[in-house]
């Protein structure tokens, strides 16, 4: 490309892979992923050195956690559906998709709260309790952050801010939401499934 063409022919703004904000979100997600990697590293480190049974109170129940995992996975699907909608300029689909995603995410948090209430141990009882509540708690905090982001773009979606060409904020929130879901799979596999395999 000649230098003359740079000023005249290039798109006036970066979209998709060219958008700086999108790249910022990608690396934020990588950073948050390493945060969870170190949380889980601590868990396995302590577990491997534990004397006696691990977890001390037996493997955590799946009665709530398994359905909750499915709820979160479905919410990723509805987020994809919403984002695909706005790429075709379908405002309604974006709004409804975001709303359903929000409700599913909120349901996840409520069920998580119920599971917390059923626990026979506390963060203070022993190292397992501290790790369990800290790891799942930070995941929950990330879900709440995702819900707040969702709320933010939802308000903008109802105000009609997004178009088929300009919806970077939606893409960023969707990326973050998928991250929160994927990282839950790792947390779920480590805290709920792994002890059953041992």
């Amino acid at each position: 490309m000649t230098t003359a063409a740079i000023a005249t022919e290039l798109p006036r703004d970066g979209r998709g892979r060219h958008a700086l904000g999108w790249w910022g979100m990608v690396f934020l997600v990588v950073n948050e992923a390493t945060f969870f990697a170190y949380l889980l590293f601590s868990y396995f480190y302590v577990a491997s050195a534990a004397r006696g049974t691990w977890p001390p109170s037996g493997s955590p129940e799946l009665k709530i956690a398994l359905p909750n995992t499915i709820i979160l996975l479905i919410s990723s699907g509805t987020m994809v559906w919403a984002e695909r909608g706005i790429t075709r300029g379908d405002q309604e689909r974006l709004r409804i998709g975001l709303l359903i995603t929000f409700l599913l995410g909120a349901l996840f948090i409520v069920l998580q709260g119920i599971e917390y209430g059923n626990k026979m141990f506390t963060p203070q009882s022993d190292v397992y309790g501290s790790l369990f509540f800290t790891i799942t708690g930070f995941h929950g905090a990330h879900v709440v952050a995702g819900l707040l982001m969702n709320l933010f773009v939802q308000v903008r979606a109802w105000a009609g801010h997004f178009t088929a060409r300009r919806h970077l904020a939606v893409s960023n929130v969707a990326l973050y939401w998928h991250f929160v879901d994927v990282v839950w799979l790792f947390v779920f596999a480590s805290l709920y499934i792994a002890p059953r395999l041992a």
């Binding site: 230098t3 703004d13 601590s42 480190y45 004397r51």
Partner: protein, 645 residues
């Protein structure tokens, strides 16, 4: 309109109006200009260097002779802890962020960093977390468990004050700044290089900072997790490090060193980049082995993740793990040696000009070799057992960190300050500056190896006479004060240059890279036209030669002007092919307000005053929403575009 012709004064005026930050307090708090942010980083981290230096000076006064009692053991603990925290976290890394923030857009022919508001945020949080950490002195409860804060000493039963709460919260707070800054560097590296500037044409400092930034993204969370555990355990009675409840004190050490070893490379790789970029200018030839030096930089960063256990050789780990990490630590000497030979070869085959900046770089090479050798020997496990927690290690860490960080930094300032201020520093005072620092440094820190081998443990507030340590300590203290005088000479030279220094002009050193193609100091928009780059040393190209060789020359004075708003060119990640004209954000108060909200929140957590936590949290939320909510112009632009489509 965008034009190709060399820019006219009218164009300069227009660009200035677009990019200039208004004067006054409003502009100060809202600016996103990378040059202002870079200078703030440099000045602030230099202030922390002086504060850390004062702490060191008090300690050296206490140790100048046996049985002295200038300060109490408790105060001494706080002094060495804050000295370490300050130098490692508040000086060594931020000062390099200062260089990179100031220089990067100038080095790559861009008008700003990729995410300018995050850039401003990262500075404000750095400042706020520094204030947070230093406010601990006001209540007499500064961190007191060393900069690596080993559990279980750091736990509440053994250390009941606020000291380690300050540490845990302060480092989590600072980590936000560092992370945000790292993301900004990575995105800038891959998206904003001038057209034609492929990745094999960037100055080496960019490889250094890129590697450091990637290392930060992958390792900093480890320290954050460790500090969060520490805070939860201290404040809420949880059990991560407490063996009585199944916790693991060694977990702290693992998490800490998984970050803190790569951190060594975070604070040296960009500085080594400075060396690789300054030496060619004064050797009057391109760097020997550019590709190998760039690869060595990246390789060091990667290997740096596999050696953290060498800080834990004396903790009783299995022999297998000791052998593995010992060997890995020795391997890391290879890329370092590659860089050293490249520098020596560049000087050897060049025609060196012995300026002050060059002296600092050459001095650095010597110190780097000494610090490297004392590092390689401690990678040998039996030797490490002998010197663990002695002054030998203290000597080593100072050779590495002062040698590889402070010397290139001061040399780099002699090189680039004329660009930043438009004035030259005094070369005559500069030569004194170098020699006083160099002699003082070696006099101060070399004897530490000896006192360490004689068995002197680190972190003791005083020592009895008759152990044979007195002479070495006396020399160390004298050397340390001489070194401090050297740093003072630099500060004097800086202020002298601002008033009396010779006017630098755009290119006082006949430098090779793009920053020398614009005025000193550069205008708010950096470059009147976006340059096109065809070699690693665009300012040294001879167009006739390139044309004979059938290669296109770089174009520095002709190109797109982009004067329709805050715009710069976005290019492809590897080849630097132009992809888009990017709209850059304007000045904003949100970064400052957000950092302030976080400060309130962290003080609330510390006290603890939950009302402050809520106020800070709500402030945080408001700032994020205000920051991200589109302005009317942005919405109108979207609508116009939609109508056009």
């Amino acid at each position: 309109m965008a034009t190709l012709a060399p820019p006219a004064p009218a164009v300069d005026d227009r660009l200035t109006r677009i990019w200039e930050t208004p004067r006054g307090i409003g502009g100060m708090l809202s600016t996103v200009d990378h040059k202002t942010i870079g200078k703030r980083y440099l000045v602030t981290s230099f202030v922390f260097l002086v504060l850390g230096g004062v702490e060191a000076a008090v300690m050296r006064a206490q140790l100048i002779h046996s049985n002295l009692r200038l300060v109490s053991p408790e105060v001494y603990n706080q002094l060495y802890s804050m000295h370490g925290v300050t130098m490692m976290f508040l000086y060594a890394s931020p000062v390099l962020s200062g260089f990179s923030n100031y220089l990067w857009p100038l080095l790559i022919g861009s008008r700003d960093m990729a995410v300018p508001r995050l850039n401003a945020l990262s500075y404000w949080i750095f400042l706020a977390s520094g204030i947070f950490l230093y406010s601990s002195f006001l209540v007499g409860q500064a961190p007191n468990d060393g900069w690596f804060a080993y559990a279980p000493f750091s736990l509440r039963p053994y250390d009941p004050g606020l000291n380690m709460d300050y540490y845990a919260l302060g480092l989590v707070f600072l980590a936000v700044s560092t992370t945000v800054g790292a993301i900004n560097f990575i995105v800038t590296f891959f998206k904003l290089r001038a057209p034609g500037m492929s990745v094999n044409r960037v100055p080496i400092i960019m490889w250094g900072t890129l590697t450091a930034s990637v290392a930060i993204i992958f390792s900093l969370s480890s320290l954050t997790v460790a500090c969060i555990y520490l805070f939860f355990e201290r404040r809420f009675g949880m059990h991560f490090y407490d063996p009585a409840a199944g916790g693991q004190p060694l977990l702290w050490q693992h998490l800490f060193w998984i970050l803190a070893h790569p951190w060594v490379y975070v604070v040296v790789l960009p500085a080594m980049g400075i060396v690789s970029d300054v030496i060619p200018t004064f050797a009057r030839r391109p760097l020997v082995g550019y590709t190998f030096v760039a690869l060595a930089t990246v390789a060091t960063g990667i290997l740096g993740f596999g050696v953290w256990v060498h800080h834990m050789f004396a903790t009783g780990l299995s022999e297998m793990s000791l052998s593995f990490f010992g060997a890995a630590s020795m391997v890391i000497a290879i890329p370092s040696a590659v860089a050293v030979f490249a520098w020596i070869a560049t000087i050897w085959t060049g025609r060196p000009v012995f300026t002050t900046a060059f002296l600092f770089m050459a001095g650095f090479i010597i110190l780097f070799v000494i610090g490297g050798v004392s590092g390689v020997v401690t990678a040998a496990v039996p030797f490490d057992w002998q010197v663990t927690d002695t002054y030998f290690v203290v000597g080593h860490i100072h050779y590495v960190l002062i040698g590889i960080n402070v010397f290139p930094v001061v040399g780099g300032l002699y090189y680039w300050l004329p660009k930043m201020t438009g004035r030259m520093l005094s070369e005559r005072l500069g030569k004194w500056n170098f020699w006083v620092m160099f002699v003082g440094f070696n006099l101060g820190f070399f004897p530490m190896h000896i006192s360490g081998l004689l068995g002197m443990p680190r972190r003791i507030y005083t020592y009895p006479s008759g152990l044979g340590w007195d002479t070495a300590n006396l020399i160390t203290s004298i050397g340390a004060y001489l070194f401090a005088v050297g740093v003072l000479l630099f500060v004097i030279n800086f202020f002298w240059s601002l008033r009396r220094g010779r006017v630098a002009g755009p290119d006082p050193w006949r430098g090779p890279s793009l920053e020398w193609s614009t005025s000193s100091p550069p205008p708010p928009y950096n470059f009147a036209v976006i340059p096109t780059v065809r070699s690693a040393y665009p300012m040294w190209e001879r167009p006739e030669q390139r044309e004979e060789a059938g290669k296109e020359p770089s174009q520095l004075d002709r190109g797109p002007v982009l004067d329709q708003g805050r715009e710069t060119v976005g290019t492809s990640s590897l080849d630097g092919e132009p992809l888009a004209v990017l709209q850059m954000p304007s000045d904003s108060y949100w970064p400052f307000l957000l950092a302030f909200s976080l400060l309130v929140l962290f003080f609330g957590l510390l006290a603890p005053v939950w009302a402050l936590v809520v106020i800070g949290g709500v402030g945080l939320l408001v700032c994020v929403i205000g920051w991200l909510w589109p302005t009317r112009e942005e919405r109108e632009l979207a609508m116009r575009e939609e109508a056009a489509a």
